[in-house]
């Protein structure tokens, strides 16, 4: 399982390792690659890009909010300016109207001409509208509102004084109002009104100027903010672009490298295949000749052959046969390493049953008690896994051959979520744990050739298959007491 965790841990570490020397892939174009911020170095490319885009997003939000705020102020100011212009216009209208009222009433008093009275009455009629409009236009500005109150009273006063004079005139004629006609009944009030209007006018103009200056500052700030903000966004975007581009370049390079290695591996595999092909064909021929000519020799000298000579000839052909077997086993071993693997569900219980059925003939004359526990289904290549269990079971049968009462047990050990451990236990000759590490080596044998036959490739083959399934193998044994062989298969299949 170490190997799997290593595999998982390796790629990110590798990516960081390899990214460093390439940070100056664009020498001097953008300096960001050279800035070393420890916590930032730890971030993955995705996190960096996300951080970059988040900053751009926040920047856009800030700029939008500030611009909106400033523009609202500008809009409010321009609305106020419109009101101010209306107020100034109204004030000048009132000024004109009140002067007109004063003039018209005096002319009426002097001439008695009705048209002058009409002009005066028109102003009197206009007055409430003037007041209302004034109040509306000055609402919210205290100084002006107070003045409007005074102005209103003064206007009433003036108009009252004038209407009184007109009433007197109509009763007693010009004589009774002569002084008034000469001086003007509302002369004093008109003066105050005039002064008030001038004050209000200048106040309003001052407020307008203040607002204009205010708006100018706001507009300048907005422009500066937009400029600086846009520049920062561009810089950030350029940085993110650099990150992504750098990452893509890196990925492309790694992909190219992988492909190159894959091609090398494939070439190596092809070579190996050609090698094993010629081994299979060319190495077998001389062996066949050795055995064949030994047989022909035996036949042609049969009469004169003594016992020793016969034994020598037998040894020659035995050796040739053994080497033939070795070559065949080696070929199987090499084929197991490169053969395409199937991935299906394998019912181990049925697999074991069919193996035992096949071995039935070999077991004649043997006394073996079998204990086979319920076995799980595993994921893997049925033919390969069958080979594993054939090797383990024939080993168990072979190495219990010296026992009068052999027992072989197949079961499941320590079921964990990560792997399924299956064991094959026998009470045969066992082995010394000192040599346990040699058991699974190619052509490794712990027993002399004349004790037990075999080429020493079975367990190596089993281990190779189990490794290809992403599992592991090990064994425990006691000399003369028996041996247990374990194979652990991952529950989630993976090829190593």
């Amino acid at each position: 399982m170490d190997s799997t965790s290593n595999h998982l841990a390796e790629p990110p570490a590798l990516a960081i390792e390899e990214a460093k020397p390439h940070t100056d892939i664009l020498p001097g174009s953008i300096g960001f690659g050279h800035v070393r911020v420890p916590w930032f170095e730890k971030l993955a490319i995705e996190q960096r890009v996300l951080a970059g885009f988040s900053l751009v997003f926040v920047g856009i939000l800030v700029i939008t909010a500030v611009s909106y705020h400033n523009t609202s102020i500008l809009l409010a100011n321009s609305r106020l300016d419109g009101r101010s212009h209306d107020l100034l216009q109204l004030l000048s209208n009132i000024d004109v109207a009140m002067t007109e009222a004063e003039d018209a009433h005096r002319r009426y008093l002097v001439t008695g001409e009705a048209s002058y009275l009409d002009s005066y009455t028109k102003v009197v009629n206009q007055k409430p509208a003037f007041t209302n409009y004034l109040r509306e236009l000055t609402r919210g500005s205290t100084g002006q509102e107070q003045r409007v109150g005074v102005l209103d009273r003064m206007m009433d006063k003036q108009l009252n004084a004038e209407s009184k004079a007109i009433a007197l005139f109509e009763k007693g004629g010009f004589r009774s109002v002569k002084n008034m006609a000469l001086e003007g009944a509302g002369r004093r009030e008109l003066g105050v009104i005039h002064q008030l209007i001038t004050e209000m006018d200048s106040d309003e103009r001052q407020a307008m100027n203040g607002r204009v200056a205010d708006s100018a500052v706001g507009t300048r700030n907005t422009i500066v903010l937009l400029g600086v903000g846009a520049f920062l966004q561009l810089v950030l975007l350029a940085w993110v672009y650099y990150l992504i581009r750098h990452d893509i370049t890196e990925r492309r390079r790694v992909a190219g490298e992988l492909q190159r290695r894959g091609e090398l591996l494939e070439a190596a595999n092809k070579e190996l295949e050609a090698f094993s092909y010629s081994v299979s064909h060319d190495l077998r021929a001389p062996l066949r000749h050795i055995d064949g000519y030994a047989a022909l020799l035996r036949k042609s000298v049969e009469e004169s052959l003594n016992e020793k000579g016969a034994r020598y000839l037998q040894t020659i052909s035995d050796a040739a046969k053994q080497m033939g077997q070795l070559i065949d086993d080696l070929l199987v071993f090499s084929r197991m390493g490169r053969q395409e693997m199937l991935r299906t569900s394998v019912n181990l219980e049925q697999l074991i049953k069919s193996i035992l059925a096949d071995l039935r003939l070999d077991l004649q004359g043997r006394e073996i008690s079998w204990t086979i526990a319920p076995l799980p289904e595993v994921k893997g290549d049925p033919a390969m896994l069958r080979q594993v269990f054939v090797n383990l079971i024939t080993n168990a049968i072979k190495f219990t051959g010296t026992k009068s009462q052999a027992s072989i047990e197949i079961g499941v050990d320590r079921p964990t979520s990560a792997e399924i451990v299956i064991f094959v236990r026998d009470n045969g000759v066992g082995f010394d744990m000192e040599y346990a590490s040699k058991l699974f080596g190619v052509f490794q044998r712990l027993h002399r050739a004349d004790e037990f036959e075999g080429t020493g490739i079975g367990l190596a083959n089993a281990r190779r298959i189990v490794h290809r399934h992403g599992g592991r193998t090990w064994a425990e044994g006691v000399p003369d007491k028996g041996a247990t062989f374990f194979i652990a298969l991952p529950t989630r299949s993976s090829e190593s």
Binding site: D282, R288, D291, G292, Y293, A295, S317, L331
Partner: protein, 154 residues
């Protein structure tokens, strides 16, 4: 019985050839064997040219083909035989050391009639060659000469 028809053995290795002949001798069919040392000779024989220009006309009872031979290899010979309308009926038995799946698949795909891996053990080799020689050279009835019944279109 097809006693008259020869058995064509293509074998470049003289030792293998000698061992095969020794096996055939035990079955008394060694005199029917025509030995070719490479693929080119096999084709020369089948097409009655070169050293076989003046041989008696007619196809052999069977061709035993080794895969790996100089000049023209076994698969190429097989391809030529099975592509020729006159030669196609001849039974072809691959007799080789190769157990490779690729060779097996390709041989059968090209139309080989049998595929036999030469056993390393001489006894097994002996019995294999004997059985092959007896079956294909004696027991099996070869196709009649000039037969076109299997290809009515040509």
């Amino acid at each position: 019985m097809n006693a008259a028809k020869p058995i064509l053995l293509a074998e470049d290795n003289p030792r293998d050839a000698e061992l095969a002949l020794a096996a055939m001798e035990e079955e008394h069919i060694s005199d029917k064997i025509v030995l070719c040392r490479d693929g080119a000779e096999v084709l020369d024989y089948l097409y009655c040219r070169g050293q076989f220009k003046s041989r008696l006309k007619g196809n052999p009872a069977v061709v035993f083909l080794d895969l790996k031979m100089p000049k023209v290899n076994g698969l190429e010979v097989l391809r030529t035989i099975k592509a020729d309308i006159n030669l196609r009926p001849i039974p072809v038995v691959m007799l080789t050391s190769s157990r490779e799946e690729r060779d097996l698949a390709e041989s059968y795909a090209l139309g080989a009639n049998a595929y036999v891996v030469k056993p390393v053990e001489f006894h097994k080799f002996l019995s294999a060659v004997k059985e092959l020689g007896t079956f294909w050279g004696v027991i099996n009835e070869p196709p009649p000469e000039g037969s076109r019944f299997s290809h009515p279109h040509s």
